[in-house]
Amino acid sequence: MRLTRLARGQAGLDLGGHQTRNNYSLLRDFFPIRPSVICWCGWERIRAASRSVARKMPAHLENEQDLVAAAKAGDSDAFVTLLNQYSRHIYRLGLSITGNHHDAEDVLQEALLKAYTALADFRANSRFYTWLVRIAVNVALGKLRKRSLWKESSLDEPREGEDGTFIPLEIESWGEDPEKACLNSELQQILADVIQSLDPKSRTIFTLRDVEKFSIEETATMLGLSIPVVKTRLLRSRLKLREELTKYFGRDARNAMPTSRR
């Protein structure tokens, strides 16, 4: 029954479903920014909003624990249901870390196969998704190491001061929120593109922390890095991505937008 449904595709692998100067005005001596693009950004809104960014992990399946127990007992339908919930997250994770679709597919297949094989070792004191991501990260890092991309990642970034501080250059507020400025599919593509502006180690850290929403500590543990290294890379990654996204969403950036927004 299970196999028949799988073969017909009914059971689902739906699966679809910078030396820093003391202020920016001094920086403009070196990197001129037109006054017209410097806009007030809504201080009242900053004050009104909570200071920290809200983070939601992928939704739990209501009966996740039961599904995991059933899958451990050999119910492949239950395992497929779990995969349907998380496959696209794992594929995006693989794509962010490795930077190409071929490796991302390998990461997806290898990670899910390893998870299926090692399901008996899974302990219910952690989330199934966390466990799955750990497996996928190890597979993805293996691919980076094969290509010698993990150790060669450098902390160096352009426009750093002598003390290693990243200097923001784009001082331009955004117009509409990105979610309103373009179609969801276009936004997904923009985010996938800009994240590749980071070196492999930085984009792996950023992906785990800000895309997959793990804590700094969990991210450091998964990657075998110290917390200060994770924090430093995360800060630079966020600032770098802010600049990349300003090219799309800054008030003066209409020409960079996909056709639907022009």
Binding site: C41, G42, S87
Partner: protein
């Protein structure tokens, strides 16, 4: 607090992990520094847009190959 220190502390500020005294200093700086307000606001939006955007569905061919892989796997394990 100066602009460079604001930049250094943006992550901790947005993650809610900054010492309350430093939060007060940072926000006091933001009240008077337009450039830093822009940088903090757009960095917040950057983190939020990555946090909030759902992943795209799997490409059809990727989904199909994954389907085939597990179908074969389950076939092999099915008792004859």
């Amino acid at each position: 607090m100066r602009c460079r220190q604001v930049v250094d502390k943006i992550s901790e500020y947005l993650d809610g992990e900054l010492d309350p005294e430093l939060v007060r200093e940072l926000e006091c700086h933001l009240e008077h520094c337009e450039d830093c307000r822009v940088v903090v606001d757009t960095t917040r939006k950057t983190v939020e847009v990555f946090c909030d955007t759902e992943p795209a569905p799997l490409p059809n061919d990727v989904r199909e190959r994954l389907n085939q892989m597990f179908t074969q796997k389950f076939c092999k394990e099915e008792p004859s």
